[in-house]
């Protein structure tokens, strides 16, 4: 039993270590920094400094920092994991080394998701620092941080699934623009959900990111959002593990 647990731990660690090593190699590239950190900070400055004083939300700076941290947690975990898996499958072929190793599908999934969480939290922390500098606010308690981690876990799971099914990188860009981009703008990132018309609000509540923004802003009061996000994460983790188990080339 101890051996099995130890092997599972090592399998997870091996995948996690590999992903983080690859991440470290990319992190200092200009395009990567711009994409993962600079773009959200630009949003922060453009919306916060440009529109902040004209929007009738008390402490819009704090509201915006919370929203953009959620958005960044989503885009970074989803894109980095899905790109890592899909590029490894479709371009370098290096994902084969993971899938021919004796590491179980669940351990591969855990390693990929953990690496997605770390990758997304790096950008979230950058946004927190930028928010503290620009708006002199740090509107995140422990509950909000846990929600951001859960959000990253969910979108990492979705990223694994997405990375396993797409057939080319163009497919990746198209689906990202149709799924991730609308979620970024409609899920309470830049303005409260009650600003939206009723018919649209119903659709937006189906978007997982809107539950993350709700939790980050309302903490334990958003019990339903907590439950939904936890269930979605578990379901996606299970589905992703099953897809890895059935992985074929």
């Amino acid at each position: 039993m101890t051996d099995i647990l130890l092997n599972r731990f090592w399998g997870t660690y091996a995948v996690f270590y590999r992903e983080i090593l690859l991440y470290k190699k990319k992190v200092m590239r200009l395009g990567f920094v711009f994409y993962s950190i600079s773009t959200p900070i630009l949003y922060l400055m453009a919306f916060g400094l440009g529109l902040g004083s004209r929007i009738s939300i008390p402490d819009y700076g704090a509201f915006l920092v919370q929203g953009i941290a959620c958005m960044s947690s989503m885009t970074n975990s989803f894109n980095m994991v899905s790109i890592s898996v899909s590029m490894g499958r479709l371009q370098s072929g290096a994902f084969q080394t993971v899938m021919t190793s004796p590491v179980s599908a669940a351990s591969v999934m855990r390693g990929l998701v953990l690496s997605g969480i770390i990758r997304s939290m790096v950008s979230v922390i950058s946004i927190m620092l930028a928010g503290a500098l620009i708006f002199h606010t740090l509107p995140f308690d422990m509950m909000a941080l846990m929600a951001l981690v859960l959000n990253a876990a969910f979108f990492s799971c979705a990223g694994v699934m997405f990375g396993l099914v797409i057939n080319d990188m163009e497919h990746h860009a198209v689906l990202t623009n149709f799924i991730i981009m609308p979620m970024s703008f409609f899920s309470g990132t830049f303005y409260p959900l009650n600003f939206l018309p009723d018919w649209l609000r119903g659709i937006v509540y189906l978007m997982p990111l809107s539950h993350t923004t709700t939790i980050v802003r309302h903490g334990s009061e958003a019990l339903l959002s907590w439950i939904l996000l936890i269930i979605l994460t578990l379901v996606c983790f299970y589905a992703g593990s099953k897809m890895l188990e059935k992985y074929g080339e």
Binding site: W10, G11, A14, L21, S92, Q96, T100, S101, P102, V103
Partner: protein, 276 residues
């Protein structure tokens, strides 16, 4: 018996990529799979390496069905792919180290250093794998397979695209793997490679194994004398099982330009291809 394959089949839609093939590989044997493009070699290797689930048939490694416990089977098998499937951002050492971790080898530093020396890439230790030449990349991929400690290694065209000198060096490496008692399944388009390295070869055609034997036996079956005929508008090669038949044929036909030589495995492959 290291690997036993029984009645293996795989279809993609209406195409039968692998059609009811059976063979076995003994411990310390290099077994070659030959055949033209699309014959089913890579599909076979992918099924053996648990990357593709067969439609029918069984694969047993050391007596254990590989699809019953894939993760256990993978501990004792490694694949050197046709594609250069390295993480190009990582250095050679990092690529090998991460591979060792995936193989549950936690303290492999010394083993990796020894492997780099053995495969003559120690000076490339800290270079990005993406910056290596084709031959060096192949060595890193082979180093990974060796570091796995697996007894069964699948090599899918391991010398494709390499220059003749580097190819010869890869042959020495492959022979040294055999000398360690490990088994190798090798697919190749180079018949001289199969002739030099393989104890037995199977010739695949449209997903089926049409012949399987030692290279010498296949040559003997097809005819040990090869007659190359030129000057008839089209060059062709004919195979003869003995010199009397060959001489009779030459005395009847008055060829202006011809050459008699020992049959090579390539001639056998071409003759089977024509008769199929």
């Amino acid at each position: 018996m290291m690997l036993k394959v029984d009645n293996l089949s795989k279809s993609f839609g209406r195409l039968k990529a692998v059609d009811d093939i059976s063979f076995d590989i003994k411990k310390g044997e290099i077994f070659g799979l030959l055949g033209e493009n699309g014959a089913g070699k890579t599909t076979t290797i992918k099924m053996l390496a648990t990357l593709l689930r067969p439609d029918n048939g069984s694969i047993a490694l050391n007596g254990e069905d590989v699809w019953r416990n894939r993760y256990l089977a993978r501990q004792n098998m490694a694949i050197v792919s046709q594609e250069m499937n390295l993480e190009y951002e990582l250095t050679v050492y990092e690529a090998l180290h991460t591979y060792c971790l995936l193989r549950n080898k936690r303290n492999a530093k010394k083993e990796i250093e020894n492997m780099l020396e053995r495969l003559n890439i120690a000076d490339k230790r800290n270079e990005r794998t993406g910056a290596l030449s084709g031959g060096q990349k192949r060595r890193v991929m082979t180093a990974r397979a060796l570091l796995s400690g697996a007894g069964m290694i699948f090599m899918d065209e391991p010398t494709i695209g390499l220059d003749p000198m580097i190819r010869r060096e890869m042959w020495d490496i492959i022979n040294s793997i055999k000398a360690e008692g490990r088994s190798i399944l090798l697919t190749t388009h180079y018949t001289d490679e199969a002739e030099y390295l393989c104890g037995r070869v199977a010739i695949m055609e449209k997903g089926r194994i049409i012949h399987m034997n030692t290279p010498d036996s296949l040559i003997n079956q097809a005819g040990t004398y090869a007659l190359d005929i030129n000057g008839t508008g089209q060059a062709k090669t004919m195979l003869f099982s003995d010199s009397l038949l060959l001489n009779d044929y030459l005395s009847v036909h008055n060829f202006e330009e011809y050459r008699v030589r020992r049959t090579k495995l390539e001639d056998v492959l071409i003759s089977y291809g024509k008769s199929a």
